[in-house]
Amino acid sequence: MSTAEAQQCGSPVGRQRVGFIGLGVMGRPMVQHLLAAGHDLHLWARRPQTLAGLSATVHDTPAALGAACPVVFTMITSSADVEQVALGAQGLKHGMAPGSVLVDCSTIAPAAARRIAGQLAQGGIHLLDAPVSGGVQGAIDATLAIMAGGEADVLERVRPLLACFGQRIVHIGPNGAGQVAKACNQMIMVAAIEAVAEAMRLAAASGVDCGKVRQALAGGSAASRVLEIMGQRMVDRDFSAGIEARLHHKDFGLVLEAARQSGVAVPLTAIVAQQLNALMAQGWGKDDTASLLRVLESG
């Protein structure tokens, strides 16, 4: 982290009380960065064992956590789970004070983000939809890209906190806009994984060394982060998860639904979604999305 970023992370506002819900592979390193910056962390977890080793105040319900914190982060898998934590019977909505901010870093449907924002607004609570890109490594390195939807001044209030684990923080537009940007991110990234997988498949089927092909391509116009990282995984046949493929499968359901609601044709995305369906059917949902190569090999 550069000196400028280190200052941005924490010092202008000093020690803050921060709530965080969702201590999975992404959430945990994000919390650790907030702790390292000296913030006072308050946690709630559906599975208490995920709290182990974090020095923080633990609450019994999201509502109780919300009552204690002016800013709360969530990092949860599905739209339904975020809605439950935010709006459910013991949800954040029932504890958070007017003027407080919920920063949802989960990847959910844009429509769901707008719905949650509308409900929270009734209690004077602000929502920022702030999904991230960069994966587990990005969370560990505090280099996540963060795409935010909501009011610009609300983003400015929490920007120093986001800077603890994020590098590029962009205000996209009103609520839901962050999730739209994330959907676009997923479309491009997973389509690129499929393209790399197909190239690797063609190379192998033609009796050519995949590693050499990847190496050569990485210096030219086809160079990309996906070719570099996912291509290497394919060459090494290392399908253990970075990000579990089932999450990309989930995201593609959201993307296709959003496209449908907008009356937009996304032919390539739709085909890639079918390859993800096949991946799920063959039981590789908990493996890395580089497994799209295995789908091609099985067909």
């Binding site: 499968h249 593609f252 359901g253 296709l256 496209a259 449908r260 907008s262 009356g263 937009v264 044709a265 996304v266 032919p267 739709a270 085909i271 979604a273 079918q274 390859q275 369906n277 096949a278 799920m280 059917a281």
Partner: protein
């Protein structure tokens, strides 16, 4: 038989009329009162609510737009249920939604049959619909005399939801079929070949299909009046693709077709017949207003 009928739109009205003509005693209800009038004129009784339409009948049938409508209607039906009532939904909805509605009705003592149809308004008027049914043997047997007034090809496919699975399969075949015929038409004319001659030649071979014959002719006539509206086919393809997503099912052809229907709705062709796919292809291929 005493039958309650709910939903009197383009499809529901002629289906209900055919039940009256078959000698059944009919009580009807529709959200818009004016759509009940033709049935009342023909001798049906009017009901004040879905619940009332289901009271004291042997069979209740719904023909409405989408899953939430079916669920709402069937909740109303359940409150009027007398033991042994059979409820039939002939709308096109997701198989999973049909199974859920069947379970909810079962706990109210109502036996449920999902029985979507194929054949469009023409088939509904002629009483020649294809009916694909899912439910118990006993419930199907109860509903069969009513089905025979409305349809010709009546198949009891399997348990609850099986009718909707069949309808979704039907929409895969018809959706891709219309797109295939439209692509063949665009292919012929971009090659400078007479499309009507191509159609005529293909009708004699393995590419023969009802869609090539009927939809193909309407493409030649550039008659884009529905028929079957594109937005409805889009809705049905969405049922297919959502089910594929949930099950882990790879359907690349249906996926590409569904995207074309998305584009139809997005470009303002939703109210036209699904053969307007041809117009979309022509635009994409620079064959403006062929």
């Amino acid at each position: 038989m005493k039958i309650g009928f709910i939903g009197l739109g383009i499809m529901g009205r002629p289906m209900a009329l055919n039940l009256l003509q078959g000698g059944h005693q009919l009580t009807v209800w529709a959200r818009r009162a004016e759509s009940m009038q033709p049935l009342l004129d023909a001798g049906a009784q009017g009901a004040a609510s879905a619940t009332e339409a289901a009271r004291g009948v042997d069979l209740v049938i719904s023909m409405v737009a989408d899953a939430p409508d079916v669920a709402q209607v069937m909740r109303a039906v359940a409150t009027a249920a007398t033991p042994g009532l059979v409820a039939v939904d002939m709308s096109t909805i997701a198989p999973a939604a049909a199974r859920q509605i069947g379970q909810a009705l079962a706990s109210a003592g109502v036996d449920f049959v999902d029985a979507p149809v194929s054949g469009g308004e023409v088939g509904a008027i002629a009483g020649s619909l294809s009916i694909m049914a899912g439910g118990s043997d006993a419930a199907f047997a109860r509903a069969l005399p009513a089905f025979e007034c409305m349809g010709k090809n009546i198949v009891h496919v399997g348990a609850s939801g099986a009718g909707q699975v069949t309808k979704a399969a039907n929409q895969i075949v018809t959706g891709m079929g219309v797109l295939a015929v439209a692509e063949a038409m665009a292919f012929a004319s971009k090659n400078g070949v007479d499309r009507s001659k191509v159609r005529e030649a293909l009708l004699g071979g393995f590419a023969y299909s009802k869609i090539l014959e009927n939809h193909g002719q309407r493409m030649l006539d550039r008659n884009f009046k529905p028929g079957f509206k594109s937005w409805m086919h889009e809705k049905d393809m969405n049922i297919v693709m959502q089910t594929a997503h949930e099950l882990g099912l790879c359907l690349p052809g249906a996926a590409a077709t569904a995207q074309m229907f998305n584009a139809m709705v997005g470009s303002g062709l939703g109210e036209e017949d699904s053969i307007a796919l041809l117009k979309l292809l022509e635009t994409l291929s620079g064959q403006a207003d062929k």
